[in-house]
């Protein structure tokens, strides 16, 4: 795989390809959102499972720009798979050969030294570079005065101040991207001591023979001095390790330490150029003086206060997800019913009408109703992330995590798991230790994801009374919280178990950057939440729609010859029992009977292995078929009776069912991601299998225990 001699210029028909890179917490994603708006596509990088976000925008004159958001990195030295893929794309050694025309480095104006480390590496790759000096407003507020023209002449690339959260500087930035593509690319601007250059020369030559262009070879040579592990993108260069070792020996022979060379050289250069280009007004100059952020951290990271605040915030999030969404949900429910009956009214009586009313509208409608809750949940998570509180939370959790053999860094994937296990599992890529990473992957699905929300909500609304407990919290909210807590605590215990048995190993120490607190960028947050809602709607309109249709068919055919003398409900009951679905349900009834479920719930559980929300829509379909059209599903559940007239579903059984859902892994997407992230192939399947199995056993066992134990304690 040979690299191109330098970046090419875009042809007349291609869009301009811009790769965005930068440190984490620089507002890179905000900038990406600001540039591309809603024209984004999420996927994966080929061959790996790093998330790949690509977007596009158009210039006023119609020229297209394709933007690729590379994972946030502190340096091109790969500490995690994230950073590795960024390097591969920039060196044109990625599988897809995206070949950027321009690289946009997002630099945080408040943390120039650290950010310029990465920027200086990128500038040596022979590709045109533009630097976006982001959060420029915050820098000014902190009294940091930056002489931009001086920086430009020192570094040799266009530098545009921006405030991504407010959309400032975007136009000059876009123009700069095009200009840069036409100019010659930048090169290294500092000089290494001659003895170091001499020691590195053979290594540089060796890399050049391996296909790297000169500038890149020199960058890599310097970078590799501090890297011990073999790197995949250079795997095809023979004999590299030996050359590297002799370069290191040569450097030691002249009295230097090879591992420090790159830091010393780059930070030395950066320090010098910032002395002239940046001035700090003395008030905020001291790095050791307390900032407002620090004062906030005094509370947020307090020994006692910290965890308390954390729990309060979490409780607030959950209560609001449950209660604030309610009026919106009712509204959606009403609208869907209205449309449904209208449409049904147009159709002549018969199968098609039943399909539309009971299959499509009842099925999909019962899931759509949860859009507000999902939106609120994602909005909160985004808020926590943007404000900078996430890092503190990860930090607080580190203590707890360590007890179970995990990292504070494991916290963020787990928190993402509350929204959806799939991005949560992908987020484990920032965890360097393989054992820790696998352990985290194994337990992330236990964090109740948003797909479980419809199930919890339905069961809680139907069976748990809304008795107030504390100001602002009632029994329903508390039950919801309890389910989430159950998942969380179990996740930690299971992780501990894994770490003591299958995934032994030491816990790596933690390095966490605490970004200063900041007001979240509302617009960017809104875009992210909107994206998520659209995906939810798409999912509802496709897989859930298809499943609802198929389930309706299974619940309707074969048609029974019903006795016209029986009442409406009894007739539909008979019809249902006679259908394919009914027969299947009766067949598996013995398996779920110990848990207190009848065949209707049994069937819904099986169906929801494809997608949890389908539990609700299946129940909706079953009762839509088997009951009066207008009655709310909740009422139907409550009033359901068994053959001998007893109440079929009691609160205890409902709680047991929720417990089942807390633990069971019922998501194809999660299984697919686990397979890939655990290493793909046999290894991936092995771990996914373990995950599925233990969760199923846990689910069944816990549900059974709940019902049996509850009865023993006197509940019904």
């Amino acid at each position: 795989m040979t690299a191109t001699a330098g970046a090419e210029r875009p042809t007349a028909t291609e869009p301009l390809r811009v790769a965005i890179i930068g440190n984490p917490n620089t507002g890179k994603t905000t900038l990406f959102n600001a540039l591309t708006g809603l024209r984004q596509r999420v996927g994966n990088f080929a061959g790996v499972t790093v998330e790949r976000v690509e977007g596009e925008f158009r210039m006023p004159d119609g020229r297209r720009v394709a933007v690729l958001d590379l994972p946030g990195s502190y340096s091109l030295s790969a500490g995690s798979p994230d950073e590795r893929i960024a390097l591969e794309v920039l060196l044109d050694r990625d599988r897809q050969h995206w070949r950027p025309h321009v690289v946009l480095v997002v630099v945080d104006a408040c943390h120039l030294e650290r950010n310029l480390f990465l920027a200086s590496q990128v500038c040596e790759l022979g590709v045109p570079v533009v630097i976006a000096l982001n959060q420029f407003d915050m820098a000014q507020e902190q009294g940091i005065e930056i002489d931009v023209p001086a920086l430009i002449s020192a570094i040799g690339v266009p530098i545009i101040p921006t405030v991504a959260s407010r959309g400032e500087g975007l136009q000059p930035l876009k123009r700069a991207l095009f200009t840069a593509a036409e100019l010659p690319p930048p090169a290294r601007r500092f000089v290494l001591p001659p003895e170091i250059e001499a020691s590195l020369a053979p290594l540089v030559q060796h890399l050049e023979h391996g296909g790297l262009p000169t500038g890149t070879a020199r960058m890599e040579a310097l970078r590799l001095l501090g890297v011990r592990r073999g790197e995949q993108h250079l795997a095809d260069i023979p004999d590299l390790a030996r050359q590297l070792d002799s370069a290191r020996d040569a450097i030691r022979a002249v009295g230097h330490t090879p591992e420090r060379e790159e830091s010393e050289a780059r930070y030395g250069w950066i320090g010098e150029l910032l002395k002239t280009a940046v001035r700090r007004r003395s008030a905020s100059a001291g790095a050791s003086t307390e900032t407002a952020s620090d004062r906030l951290d005094g509370i947020a990271l307090h020994r006692v206060g910290g965890p308390v605040i954390f729990l309060v915030i979490m409780a607030l999030v959950f209560q609001s997800v449950f209660s604030w969404a309610a009026p919106l949900q009712d509204g959606i429910d009403v609208v869907i019913h209205a449309i449904g009956s209208r449409v049904a009214g147009f159709l002549p009586d018969g199968d098609l009408r039943s399909l539309v009313a009971d299959g499509v509208f009842a099925g999909v409608g019962s899931v759509l109703v949860f859009l507000p809750q999902i939106a609120i949940l994602f909005a909160f998570i985004g808020l926590l992330e943007q404000s900078g509180y996430m890092a503190r939370a990860a930090f607080l959790m580190d203590r707890v995590m360590r007890r179970v053999g995990l990292h504070g860094k494991s916290f963020i994937p787990m928190l993402s798991g509350y929204a959806c296990a799939v991005p949560g599992i992908m987020a484990t890529r920032t965890i360097d230790d393989q054992q820790e990473r696998l352990a985290t992957i194994m337990v992330v699905p236990l964090m109740s994801c948003s797909a479980r929300l419809p199930v919890y909500t339905l069961l809680i609304a139907a069976f748990v009374p809304a008795t107030p407990l504390l100001p602002g919290l009632d029994l329903q909210g508390a039950t919801m919280l309890a389910m989430y807590l159950l998942g969380t605590v179990t996740a930690l215990l299971v992780a501990a178990l894994f770490r003591k048995t299958l995934l032994r190993g030491p816990v790596r120490p933690m390095i966490l950057e605490l970004p200063p607190y900041r007001w979240p960028a509302v617009q960017s947050l809104a875009i992210s939440v909107w994206q998520r809602c659209l995906l939810f709607l798409r999912r509802a309109g496709t897989i859930i729609l298809a499943l609802s249709i198929v389930l309706w068919a299974l619940a309707t055919y074969p048609r029974a010859d019903v006795d016209p003398a029986l009442g409406e409900e009894a007739r539909q009951e008979q019809q249902l029992a006679h259908s394919t679905l009914g027969r299947f349900g009766r067949a598996i009834e013995p398996a779920v009977a110990p848990l207190g479920y009848d065949w209707k719930i049994g069937v819904s559980i099986v169906a929801s292995f494809a997608a949890r929300e389908v539990f609700v829509s299946t129940m909706g379909t079953i009762y839509g078929v088997g009951g009066v059209d207008d009655a709310a599903l909740q009422d139907r559940l409550r009033s359901e009776t068994t053959a001998d007239g007893r109440v079929a579903y009691t609160p205890l059984i409902a709680v047991g069912l929720m417990v089942f859902y807390v633990f069971a892994l019922m998501c194809m997407s999660t299984i697919a991601v686990t397979i890939r992230e655990a290493g793909g192939g046999r290894l991936g399947w092995k771990w996914a299998g373990i995950q599925f199995a233990y969760m199923l056993v846990l689910a069944y066992g816990a549900a059974w225990l709940t019902v049996v134990g509850g009865r023993a304690l006197g509940f019904s």
């Binding site: 502190y74 340096s75 030295s77 500490g79 408040c110 943390h111 120039l112 030294e113 650290r114 480390f117 990465l118 501090g226 890297v227 011990r228 592990r229 330490t257 591992e259 420090r260 790159e262 830091s263 010393e264 930070y267 790095a287 050791s288 003086t289 952020s293 620090d294 990271l301 020994r303 890092a391 930090f395 580190d398 203590r399 504070g408 360097d432 790596r508 120490p509 933690m510 390095i511 966490l512 950057e513 605490l514 970004p515 200063p516």
Partner: protein, 69 residues
Amino acid sequence: MGSEATVVAIECGELEACRLRALGLYEGAQVSVVGKRHCLLVDVNGTRLALGADLAEGITVRPQGRSVS
């Protein structure tokens, strides 16, 4: 605390050392120790870093001639 110090030695796993160096915490660099709650809070080139306790113990800094761990 709030004192300026120079990093003298870093003893930790290779992965961490690599990450620390990229962040500006390398032998010979100037850092500020901001606080010590249940971990070490340092300021490196304007960035606040929280370092886990075990990691902190492996880093030796020298504020004005004295050796502190």
